[in-house]
């Protein structure tokens, strides 16, 4: 401990109460303990709040806040630690106390997925990348807040002239900005198909023929799906052209 260099184990007589306790056994204990208790070598006795030693008042001179024990600062002195019993302590389950059990089970009971896109599934673009990479971090928004407080007005006709663009595609470096991440494929159908195909293979000859038929139908379905996609693309292009006019 710091400051122990001034302390050494020696004579404690000067710190013993001038009126020792009545029981002889206790005085014996005092003498036995004098050798083990430390005392200050700078010659100064322990000082209480009023600057006087109060050993003559009580052996428990540190208990300043209890009634029946003389207080160094007077009867109206209240020590900082003198408070009533505290109802809520760490010995109580505070989560239960504040009614947060449901929230606790919701967040800690189930597995919370790591990526940000699981929290915001409807947001387009790549949002799982760190904000520092493209300068879109919230921290930079706090450190360098944008200009606020000005009124927002709709643009007039002449002001919109500045937004007249040239036709054609944008440079390649800017094309990736509005690309979407690949959509998560649902594997349920594939599992069912695999299971169904396995059971059909194990069935026998009759099931083998039915399996072949299933394969044929699958191929037909694939062709149909690709044709549908091409038709959709054509329709979308037409809609864009007609919608712009």
């Amino acid at each position: 401990m710091a400051g122990d260099e001034r302390w050494n184990y020696g004579n404690m007589d000067m710190y013993l109460p001038q009126n020792p306790p009545s029981s002889g056994a206790i005085s014996q204990n005092y003498t036995q303990q004098t050798e083990s208790l430390p005392h200050r070598t700078d010659g100064e006795p322990p000082v209480t709040q009023n600057g006087q030693t109060t050993h003559e008042d009580s052996a428990f001179y540190l208990l300043k806040d209890l009634p029946g024990i003389p207080r160094p600062g007077g009867p109206h002195h209240v020590s900082p630690g003198a408070q009533g019993p505290v109802d809520i302590t760490g010995s109580v389950n505070l989560i239960q106390h504040h009614g947060l059990e449901h929230s606790f089970h919701k967040f800690c009971g189930k597995k919370v997925k790591e990526p940000l896109s699981n929290f915001l599934p409807n947001l387009p673009g790549f949002i799982d990348t760190p904000g520092l990479q493209d300068g879109s971090s919230l921290r930079s928004l706090i450190e360098k807040p944008p200009i606020v407080g000005k009124e927002l007005y709709l643009l007039s006709g002449p002001q919109l002239q500045g937004f007249r663009l040239h036709p054609g595609p944008i440079p390649e470096q800017y094309r990736l900005l509005h690309q979407q991440p690949p959509a998560k494929k649902k594997h349920k159908n594939k599992k069912h198909k695999r299971e169904h195909s396995k059971t059909s293979e194990d069935g026998g000859a009759s099931s083998a023929t039915s399996g072949e038929k299933e394969k044929k139908t699958k191929k037909q379905k694939k062709h149909e799906d690709s044709e549908k996609k091409e038709k959709k693309k054509k329709k979308d292009k037409k809609k864009k052209k007609t919608g712009s006019t």
Binding site: P21, S23, I26, N29, S58, A59, F60, L63, L66, P67, G68, I69, G84, P85, T89, G90, S91, L94, I95, L100, S103, F104, F107, C108, V112, E114, P115, L116, F119, N122, L123, P124, I127, D128, T129, P130, G131, L132, S137, L138, R139, L152, Y153, L154, L155, L160, F163, R164, L165, P167, G168, P169, I170, R175, H178, K240, K241, G243, S244, T245
Partner: protein
């Protein structure tokens, strides 16, 4: 409060969707798309006005700064809530352990002191009971 937050969320999603559509138009711009682009710019400005109006209703909403670090790293902010809950539970258990240890120490200390200083401990116990009566 939840309604106001939902309203803000809706405005933000509409704004983001509008911006996305503008990006598609601009990526391969055609002259026929100019009026649509102008319309999208207007929608963007009105979106910003609506979001600006929402801020007055959410002045008392407080967000801890540590959540921003999670979001900037591309992590789910619910993980922050989860980490807070787990830390508070661990701290609660730690403090409970300390309290239990100190209670045991106190009872043991009083027991031993009672053997050495019976009169003083009797005074102490009487004083403690007086304090309890005062506070009750």
């Amino acid at each position: 409060m939840a309604e106001k937050l939902e309203q803000l969320e809706q405005h933000l999603e509409q704004f983001i969707e509008n911006t996305r559509q503008m990006g598609i138009i601009v990526s391969d711009f055609q002259p026929q798309g100019q009026p649509v682009l102008n319309q999208k710019i207007h929608a963007m400005i009105t979106g910003m006005q609506e979001i600006d109006r929402c801020k007055g209703q959410l002045q008392d909403v407080q967000v801890p700064l540590e959540v921003f670090e999670y979001i900037d790293q591309g992590r789910n902010p619910q993980l922050y809530t989860k980490d807070c809950m787990e830390k508070s539970l661990a701290k609660n258990e730690q403090v409970k352990g300390k309290i239990d240890a100190l209670k045991k120490f106190r009872s043991q200390l009083i027991l031993e002191l009672d053997k050495v200083f019976p009169e003083e401990i009797a005074k102490y116990k009487a004083a403690r009971e007086m304090v309890k009566e005062e506070h009750s």
